[in-house]
């Protein structure tokens, strides 16, 4: 689903009339996103930024045929909004709320899996196909069409990397923020096929963090793809949180290490064994991207 997104893809925004929602409806439209409907429980608002507002996702989807929905609702409202979306036949949901309770995220994950839909979240700044559209609030200064498929747990660290790329005239083919939550929708390994199949993507940037096993699982996915005889693309990785205290989450609940699981060393070792390059600094990562793009 993510690979087919373009400026023509119709998009619903749930929570469109909220303070944050309405601002970002405007910003996304300016960027090129084809927002066709908003959803809000407020009966007194008929439209926002020229987009018609419906009482629930089912009505919005029925009226527009949209299969993509961005959920700009508070964390405690994510589960019910996701149920509304999935019930309406939405195939891709993106949730941007920060601090979704983990047990709620598990329920969303099960529901999405049962229906074969795709979920980006729980807490993500969104995703973008620069030059086409964006869902969420990835900053425009960091977005530029280019050869790198980007995926990141951290919003800000990916903004920084994206910004450096953009100012160097490089950019992104597809950018997916997977979020820093322990329980989430799309994980790094789920995105390998997307980037390998996407003709715009020449290199893959993995921006990870300590905690969990996504980086390790991505390394395993690389090895499987290689064993199947698929042509891999260069993978460049940053893993933040080397200095994190064991047992203490650094902002992201997912960035929590116990014993040997989810540590920087474990991730670096597995990624490098699978053929990825892991960098110690943002500068080193950017240098490698420049080399890949023929700038050096």
């Amino acid at each position: 689903m993510i690979g087919t997104l373009s400026r023509r893809t119709p998009v619903i925004v749930q929570g469109a009339t909220g303070r944050t929602g309405s601002v970002h409806v405007r910003r996304m439209k300016e960027f090129g996103t084809n927002i066709v409907a908003g959803v809000s429980a407020r009966a007194d608002v008929a439209s926002v930024e020229g987009v018609p507002v419906f009482p629930d996702c089912r009505a919005a989807a029925a009226a527009t045929g949209a299969q993509v929905s961005l959920l700009m609702v508070p964390p405690a409202g994510v589960l019910s909004a996701a149920q509304d979306a999935i019930g309406a036949g939405i195939k891709l949901i993106v949730t941007v709320a920060e601090g979704v309770p983990v047990h709620d995220a598990m329920r969303v994950g099960r529901l999405v899996r049962e229906t074969g839909a795709t979920w980006v979240g729980a807490s993500t700044p969104g995703l973008a196909v620069p030059g086409e559209m964006k869902l969420g609030f990835l900053p425009n200064v960091s977005l530029k069409p280019g050869p790198f498929g980007m995926m990141s747990k951290s919003g800000t660290l990916s903004y920084e990397v994206g910004y450096r790329l953009a100012t160097l005239g490089l950019g992104q083919s597809i950018w997916v923020g997977v979020g820093g939550d322990p329980v989430k929708g799309v994980r790094f390994p789920d995105l390998l096929d997307l980037f390998l199949d996407d003709p715009r993507t020449r290199g893959i940037l993995l921006i990870g963090e300590v905690g969990g096993s996504e980086e390790e699982d991505f390394a395993d996915a690389m090895r499987r793809a290689h064993a199947q005889g698929r042509a891999l693309k260069p993978v460049y990785a940053l893993v933040a949180g080397r200095g994190a205290k064991e047992g203490v989450a650094m902002g992201h609940a997912g960035a929590l290490t116990f014993g040997n699981v989810g540590t920087f060393e474990s991730k670096k070792q597995r990624l490098e064994a699978a053929g990825a390059r892991v960098f110690a600094t943002i500068d080193d990562l950017i240098d490698a991207c420049r080399a890949e793009a023929g700038q050096r």
Partner: protein, 380 residues
């Protein structure tokens, strides 16, 4: 977030799972010991591997207990200072098991694990695969999995394990836990006794879990980072109380990366900080709080501000920063402000006018070099 053992055990007891007779000591006075000995003295820090790190001491006599307490209190394990010890009556004459319910994030389920013979080395995968079941997040399903995994045990043991499994499953669901591990779980004729408790809670659910917030609120010195998150709504974690570089930053991943890069350069960062500029909304209070916490620490030699403003108005932030610095007389160190993004030029003009002493940089590497130079100057 991992709870210290005595708090985890309080949750277990509330769920009807017995724990050994015990007393919590913080060094202030010699409390009466539970039972006639022997005892186990355990450092209460929120990390695994305490036993291997010397944080669990078996004692046969009262003087040994006092000596162990004295040795442990104030020492550190994996960067966590030991503020409390749990002194427990040693449990004898029981079989030991390992029982855990662990969130499986990729499967959207809960992995139920039951192994005979507990002990510190359990948990290293391998054998675990064959003796675990993946369940949906549902009390009955998890309880049934424990019963199934206990199928080969002697009848009395099995019955006790099933009872404990059900209680632990209910606790896991009711308190929205991410991990509930008992290792060892003592099983005897009188039922189960939890020898340890490793409970990981979800701070995102704290608002609807008053029992958990109460535990945290009652131990502010043990959970300072969680307290800050609950009270102030953003993240600030002290990484090294002796640190020299204070951080006023936004974004979890970028702040972590900055700490890593500064450490690799030989710097000593004090703290992690994700202030969430999007939620400041014109109020300097958050910034003042962070600067105050940084200012309390004795070795801070420089403040690094790093704000990537995708949407945030940097000009507004620049004003807030000036106000906050003004109102934090305790922090008088050089400031490097790396700001980039929305309304950078206006922000730089504001800082140049109001605080010409602040080094403003748009490039992150240049800002880190500035910090290095200040530290070198300070130590020279």
């Amino acid at each position: 977030m991992l709870l210290i053992e005595c708090d985890g055990k309080a949750l277990l007891r509330a769920a009807g799972i017995a724990t050994p007779e015990s007393v919590v000591v913080d060094g202030a006075e010699a409390s009466a010991l539970p039972g006639a000995g022997p005892w186990i003295v355990k450092a209460q820090v929120p990390v695994g591997g305490r036993g291997k790190a010397g944080g669990v001491v078996r004692c046969d006599t009262e003087p040994e207990v006092r000596a162990a307490q004295q040795r442990l209190l104030g020492a550190s394990i994996k960067g966590h200072r030991i503020q409390r010890c749990l002194v427990e009556a040693a449990v004898a004459g029981h079989d030991e098991y390992y029982l855990s319910l662990m969130l499986d994030p990729a499967q959207y389920g809960v992995r139920v694990m039951l192994l005979r013979e507990g002990g510190v080395d359990v948990g290293q995968a391998g054998a675990a695969q064959t003796q675990s079941r993946l369940c949906p997040p549902d009390t009955e399903a998890m309880a049934a999995a424990v019963a199934e995994l206990a199928a080969g045990e002697p009848p009395a043991r099995r019955a006790a394990l099933i009872v404990a499994g059900k209680k632990l499953a209910r606790l896991f669901m009711d308190r929205e836990l991410m991990l509930a591990e008992i290792n060892p779980l003592f099983v005897g004729a009188d039922g189960c006794i939890a020898g340890d408790a490793k409970i990981v809670i979800d701070l995102n659910a704290a608002e609807r879990q008053p029992a958990l917030t109460e535990l945290i609120e009652n131990a502010p010195a043990i959970y300072p980072d969680a307290i800050r998150k609950l009270r102030d709504g953003f993240d600030y974690v002290e990484v090294d109380p002796e640190g020299e570089i204070g951080l006023l930053t936004t974004g979890a991943g970028l702040s972590m990366m900055l700490i890593d890069e500064m450490t690799a350069r030989g710097g000593k960062p004090l703290n992690f900080c994700d202030i969430r500029t999007g939620l400041l909304r014109g109020d300097p209070m958050r910034v003042i709080k962070v600067l105050g916490w940084i200012g309390e620490r004795p070795n801070v030699k420089v403040l690094l501000v790093n704000i990537f403003a995708g949407i945030t108005d940097l000009a507004e932030f620049a004003n807030l920063l000036c106000i906050a610095l003004e109102r934090t007389p305790v922090l008088r160190v050089p400031v490097v402000a790396r700001i980039v993004g929305n309304r950078f030029d206006e922000a730089r003009a504001i800082l140049n006018e109001k605080r010409p002493d602040i080094a403003v940089e748009e490039d992150l590497t240049a800002a880190l070099n500035r910090v290095d130079a200040i530290l070198r100057g300070a130590s020279a």
